[in-house]
């Protein structure tokens, strides 16, 4: 296959590791020029990693970031699937709803959406908590993007699959659930994984509502100690490590659902 040239020559992975190490080394040299105070990092790291609870006794740091991301991702996944089906639907109402939803939440900044929900909803009565508001905004926004992923994955399933199922007398719904979606969801895994990694970092936007996730802590520690760069770099490394873990999870999942068991 021309797109993936042969990697069987010995030492390929060793040489890749060397490239990574070299680039990491350059990064460390770059950062070392900042004259960082590593003591402050050591002191604040447990808080960022979430080994402590915040003063209200709630989660903070990494566990809170993960909670927000995983919850928002779960809701976004369902929203995305429903919106994708709406876009493929013959019903004008379903299509209209899905396309309006998609257009609005892909067409406006996530930060604005978060503030609209957090600051706008109270005008109508309900006063949302910061974390549920953040999860809602992230889920709505990412659901819109995921609807495009799912729509593309559903459309990409060979038309012969529909024909074969229809010829057997299967209903469209049964065909969709048992034949089309299992294949479409499998193809969508890499793109959904990329969305998840992206959301992990966009979850930092909920810090504007004062929820104590990684970015909020990094900024407030930085502000209090005048060690902004140390805290921001620490946050960056934490996000990076979490992303690498998610990438590994995605690779494992992709491998799991291959037909070649």
């Amino acid at each position: 296959m021309p797109l993936t040239p042969s990697r069987t020559r010995t030492g390929f992975s060793v040489r890749v590791a060397l490239v990574w190490l070299g680039l990491l080394g350059l990064f460390v040299i770059f950062v070392a020029r900042f004259d960082l105070d590593l003591g402050i990092v050591r002191e604040k790291l447990p808080g960022l990693l979430g080994f402590e609870l915040n003063p209200d006794g709630a989660l903070e740091g990494v566990p809170l970031t993960l909670l927000v991301s995983v919850a928002a991702m779960a809701v976004a996944w369902v929203l995305g699937l429903v919106a994708a089906l709406g876009k493929l639907s013959g019903s004008a109402v379903a299509y209209g709803l899905a396309t309006f939803y998609n257009s609005f939440f892909r067409g406006t900044p996530l930060l604005v959406q978060i503030l609209l929900i957090y600051l706008g909803l109270p005008q109508l009565g309900p006063v949302p908590e910061a974390i549920p508001a953040g999860i809602t905004a992230l889920a709505l926004c990412y659901g819109a993007y995921m609807s495009e992923i799912f729509r593309a994955a559903i459309v990409a399933v060979d038309a012969g699959q529909w024909e074969a199922g229809e010829a057997l007398g299967m209903t469209r719904t049964s065909l969709l659930l048992r034949v089309i979606l299992p294949q479409a969801l499998k193809t969508s895994i890499p793109a959904v994984g990329a969305m998840f990694i992206s959301m992990l970092k966009d979850s930092s936007l909920v810090s504007v509502m004062g929820s104590w996730e990684i970015m909020f802590l990094a900024q407030s520690y930085g502000r209090a100690t005048y060690h902004y760069v140390e805290m921001l770099l620490t946050a960056a490394v934490i996000y990076w490590v979490l992303s690498i873990m998610l990438e590994a999870l995605q690779a494992w999942l992709e491998h799991r659902v291959r037909y070649e068991h």
């Binding site: 060979d158 010829a167 057997l168 007398g169 034949v179 294949q183 037909y259």
Partner: protein, 249 residues
């Protein structure tokens, strides 16, 4: 053999895609137990004709009747389509197996979801069906682990499991090399011998001549010549058919 009412009756069937008319008024009758083969160049309407028989291609004119189910112009009501598809099975050129299901699951799926049989019963029937097409030892293979010929035999088993009255075969060996073609044709030959009603489109002229009761030569969406297979091959009446048979060797 051709006594009584025909199982399948097409009257003035018209099918068009956009401005392109692919079937221009087809009249055809097939009796139970007959094997009818459609021949003709690519684009002559063979595939479209087969697809009108199970509602995959809605009619733009005329009528199709299979048993007591009749389709007219336009989108038929869903219950009528389902009634039709209970009677008509179809096998495709590209197999169209479900790649996320094993051979036996491919066959069992519609037994479960369409016929409403329990999972165990569906599985049992699927095994029997696969044994019939000589795949009793590959029940749990995934489609990609099977050769093209084996995949097509699973597809045949999948269609036959629902016990249709008619089997449509749309160029089912066109994607196979000669060796694999032979194993698929052996299954069709056995079905024909059992008295299955079969309508097929094929470019396998020797096979068509061997198993068909009747041959229909399509040209530009019309039936140009039809009759007993031997007669059409040995004494074609139209120069177009003579030329076609000559070209196919």
């Amino acid at each position: 053999m051709a006594a009584g009412a025909p199982l399948i009756r097409l009257q003035g069937v018209v099918k068009q895609y956009g401005q392109q008319q692919v079937l221009r008024g087809i009249d055809l009758e097939v009796h139970a137990g007959q094997v009818l083969t459609l021949i003709g160049r690519s684009g002559s309407g063979k595939s479209s004709l087969l697809r009108t028989l199970n509602g995959l291609a809605p009619l733009d004119g005329g009528s199709v009747q299979v048993g007591d189910v009749q389709l007219l112009q336009g989108l038929p009501p869903p219950d009528r389509i389902r009634a039709l598809r209970k009677r008509v099975g179809m096998v495709f050129q590209k197999f169209n197996l479900f790649p996320h299901l094993t051979a036996v699951q491919n066959v069992a799926l519609a037994l479960h979801t369409v016929q409403g049989r329990g999972r165990k019963e569906a599985h049992g029937l699927a095994c029997v069906q696969l044994e019939k097409v000589g795949l009793g030892d590959r029940l749990n293979a995934w489609p990609h682990q099977l050769s093209g010929g084996q995949q097509q035999r699973v597809a045949i088993a999948r269609a036959l499991a629902l016990a249709p009255d008619v089997l449509l075969c749309d160029e089912i060996t066109s994607a196979l090399d000669p060796e694999l073609t032979a194993e698929v044709l052996a299954v069709i030959r056995a079905l024909a011998a059992e008295g299955m009603t079969i309508l097929m489109a094929t470019h396998e002229m020797d096979f068509a001549r061997e198993v068909s009761d009747r041959l229909v030569f399509l040209l530009d969406g019309r039936i140009h010549e039809e009759g007993p297979a031997d007669r059409l091959f040995s004494a074609p009446r139209t120069p177009e058919l003579a030329r076609f048979i000559g070209a196919m060797g």
